[in-house]
């Protein structure tokens, strides 16, 4: 197998790897700004300069020339080369800053140049603390500056579009943003304008940067030049915890981080998963986090009156006890995780009721064939794989209106808002509702309302429309004690910055809600139905071993990248 020597260490490689990417893949930090694995490499930031040599080939024999000790003679390029624009070749010898004084000097010199016209406004910059320029200047940059002139002043706080704000002074012209709009999203809304030190990225006049993926440029911007209008000045990066999770506004299940401060989700950023969303996240997936922060229920209610969890569960069990199984309709939820839906199905079956169905939330034409889908739920495929079928809304409506339905058990959905029936239609129906928000229009008709934990508060599994099963971790705490959640939260929210500012044990903004996998077994218990699991991890162990549509989808196997499930025919 061909080999490359980097800082006196030999590596084997296959194919034609790019040197910079190869280093990053092997935990060799090589500072860089403009390179992005998904886009072309213009080699313009000049930060990843390294010394590169290749074996000298004897023209006569075509073989590498050897020195006295029998080692190949290495000829180094006269200039340093950028790692991002060089393919690795067999026998190549590379010296990075770890072994070359020349490279260290070059990195320092380049950072000095980058900083002369960069406003050192880190104290008010959103990027500070998570800024490649800041980090690399700290690690590889010069100690002081020799620049004694006025910095170039460029336009600031330009609203490029409805969601992205540009501070041109901070820009280092890496062109990641313009390459994103030309190569990835192909919206062609950005270009670099002017030239020399006058240049910066901009929309052409009369154009707003409003494409549905515009906020990705904020993530890939290696400085604070592009910031989120929504998030600007809301929180410092070290005040927040970030938790790997998925977004729930689309059936793509794009991987993300939820950033939390004071038990409120502050922003959503993409998490790389080459199987799902690669590096990207649509804007709509980033801006729908209000559902986690606002209009959250303040504990369970019975007939609209606050109640304790015990009372509410008892009330629910009582309702279920006193109704003939034929009169019970269970509605699963494409918003809820596989675990909750599974338990609901088990409960229905134990009661002898019909299997649950789920309400579809499909907006035909909304999808773009990429990360935005027609289906606006995260787990329709998970429901289908559990045997939970889409609801026949017309049939249910006529059954409700005909008085056939005595009890409606709704898991994390809103039949009234979905147009299945009017709230008034439910006057004669007992309604048990797991709701996430008080804006739920079915809530007024609920006999028992059980606040449900959202994706940022629970542990659970979601299956995207391509059959990719992914688990989530709790990004923020809920009111009350739950050992499973505490354990998972501890794992997921390990403070990345080593500072005590993370407030997730603070009592503010804690929502009094419970995951379905806590509430449903307890109700079952009251009905003398055996539905006990140690936690969601065990539920998935069971589901994945019993149901081949979930084969392999254990928590350990899913971890952060998720598991691609077997094809079960037509996905939703």
């Amino acid at each position: 197998m061909p080999t490359v020597t980097i800082d006196n260490q030999e590596f084997e490689f296959e194919g034609n790897p790019i040197l910079l990417q190869f280093c990053l893949d092997h935990d060799i930090e090589l500072p860089h700004f403009c390179y992005h694995p998904a886009m072309s490499a213009p080699a313009n930031c000049r930060q990843c300069l390294v010394e590169i040599g290749t074996p000298e080939i004897d023209r006569g024999t075509g073989e590498p020339r050897l020195d006295e000790d029998g080692n190949p003679v290495i000829r180094f390029f006269p200039k340093m080369m950028t790692g991002c624009s060089e393919d690795i070749s067999d026998g190549m010898v590379v010296k990075t800053h770890r072994s070359s004084e020349l490279v260290r000097e070059a990195q320092k010199d380049n950072l000095e140049f980058l900083l002369i016209n960069h406003p050192l406004d880190c104290p008010i910059c959103d990027q500070a603390g998570n800024c490649p320029l800041q980090i690399q200047a700290y690690k590889y940059g010069p100690e002081g500056s020799r620049f004694e002139f006025r910095k170039v002043s460029k336009p600031k706080h330009i609203e490029l579009g409805p969601r992205v704000v540009l501070d041109a002074e901070r820009c280092i012209n890496c062109t990641r943003c313009t390459r994103f709009t030309t190569e990835i999203s192909e919206s062609h809304q950005l270009t670099i304008i002017e030239r020399s030190v006058w240049n910066y990225p901009m929309t052409p006049p009369g154009v707003d940067f409003d494409e549905p993926y515009s906020m990705n440029v904020i993530d890939i911007c290696p400085v604070g030049a592009l910031t989120s209008k929504d998030f600007r000045f809301k929180a410092r990066v070290w005040e927040m915890s970030s938790t790997p999770s998925i977004t729930i506004g689309n059936a793509k299940g794009s991987n993300c981080f939820y950033w939390v401060k004071d038990n409120l989700v502050q922003k959503v950023t993409p998490r790389t998963n080459m199987e799902v969303n690669e590096y990207w996240l649509p804007d709509e997936d980033r801006l729908d986090y209000d559902v986690f922060n606002e209009n959250r229920p303040e504990g369970p209610t019975i007939a609209g009156q606050s109640a304790s969890w015990d009372d509410a569960k008892t009330a629910a069990a009582d309702l279920l006890k006193n109704v003939d199984a034929n009169g019970i309709v269970f509605l699963g939820s494409a918003f809820a995780c596989v675990e909750d839906n599974y338990l609901l199905g088990e409960l229905a079956s134990a009661l002898g009721a019909a299997a649950p169905s789920y309400i579809q939330h499909i907006e035909p034409g909304a999808g773009d064939g990429w990360l935005i889908t027609d289906d606006k739920t995260p787990n329709a495929s998970g429901c289908e794989r559990l045997g939970i079928r889409p609801l026949d809304a017309t049939l249910l409506r006529s059954r409700i209106q005909g008085g056939d339905v005595k009890l409606l058990y709704v898991l994390q959905d809103d039949p009234v808002a979905a147009g299945i029936c009017e709230a008034a239609d439910l006057a004669g129906v007992s309604v048990i509702l797991h709701h996430t928000n008080t804006t739920n229009e079915t809530l007024v008709a609920a006999n028992v309302a059980l606040p449900a934990a959202t994706v940022v508060e629970t542990v659970g599994t979601f299956v995207n429309q391509d059959g990719h099963a992914q688990r989530v971790w709790p990004s923020k705490a809920i009111r009350g004690v739950n050992r499973t959640l505490s354990m998972e939260i501890g794992k997921s929210r390990a403070d990345k910055h080593g500072t005590p500012f993370d407030r997730w044990f603070d009592e503010d903004h804690l929502v009094d809600c419970q995951p379905g996998w806590v509430v449903i077994p307890e109700i079952a218990d009251l009905l003398d139905i055996e539905l006990r699991f140690k936690g969601p991890r065990d539920i998935m162990l069971k589901v994945s071993s019993e149901n081949e549509a979930f084969g392999g989808a254990t928590y350990d196997a899913m971890a952060e990248p998720g598991v691609r499930l077997v094809d079960v025919g037509a996905e939703v």
Partner: protein
């Protein structure tokens, strides 16, 4: 450009400027469209023709406000943003309205040490406008430009991306301004090669009205 080093401020661009030209004006004629098609055929992709289309548009509209750049990009089916990036890169594309005559005075390198700045300053004083500005009557824009490739004929200037005026003197500038005020553009002038003077006894081109010779440049009074 001149005071950028002292006051390096890049101003906020107009994000949504009022269009200068109406939609009725913003069209290419059938003939222009045919011309564009010819240009497109000269390149493997239509984008290659953008510089030629921008040149034609500038000739037609006088300058390139955003809507004209958009029109040009549209004529080639290329993204407007890309065309805008191209147009702003080059100095000869006028992104704002200029005077009827743009006087590009070279002050670079050879011209600098052969009196380019003397000529620029003379012109600025004569017209009452600084480099980068347009005279109040809208007739002249003065620009200080980089090397125009006529170093042996320094000092020199170019009129609106067109004719070169070589071997400038104050008298020559006076005459030029008078002529331009009467809308008389100078003819193309050929500079006789010194060796042609010796071998051919004059300029080799018989088809040009004005010929000049290479001669010792004036002594520069100022270099900046």
């Amino acid at each position: 450009m001149t005071d950028f080093i002292k006051d390096p401020v890049i101003l906020m661009p107009e994000r949504h400027p009022e269009p200068v030209f109406s939609t009725e004006e913003l069209v290419f004629t059938a003939e222009e469209t045919r011309q564009i098609a010819t240009w497109v055929s000269q390149y493997p992709t239509a984008d290659g023709a953008i510089m030629k289309v921008l040149w034609m548009a500038q000739e037609k509209f006088g300058f390139l406000p955003p809507e004209v750049i958009r029109l040009s990009a549209g004529a080639l089916g290329m993204p407007y943003a890309r065309a805008f990036g191209v147009a702003t890169f080059y100095t000869q594309y006028f992104k704002s309205k200029k005077g009827r005559y743009v006087l590009d005075v070279c002050t670079c390198f050879s011209c600098q040490i052969c009196g380019g700045y003397d000529m620029l300053h003379y012109l600025e004083e004569k017209l009452g406008a600084h480099a980068g500005e347009t005279t109040d009557d809208g007739l002249f824009t003065i620009q200080e430009v980089e090397c125009l490739g006529a170093c042996g004929s320094a000092p020199m200037l170019q009129i609106t991306n067109g004719p070169y005026v070589m071997n400038l003197t104050e008298e020559k500038i006076d005459a030029l301004i008078d002529a331009l005020k009467r809308d008389q553009l100078p003819f193309f002038s050929s500079v006789t090669l010194p060796q042609d003077e010796d071998d051919l006894g004059g300029n080799r081109r018989t088809d040009v009205r004005d010929t000049l010779t290479y001669s010792a440049p004036p002594v520069a009074k100022t270099l900046g």
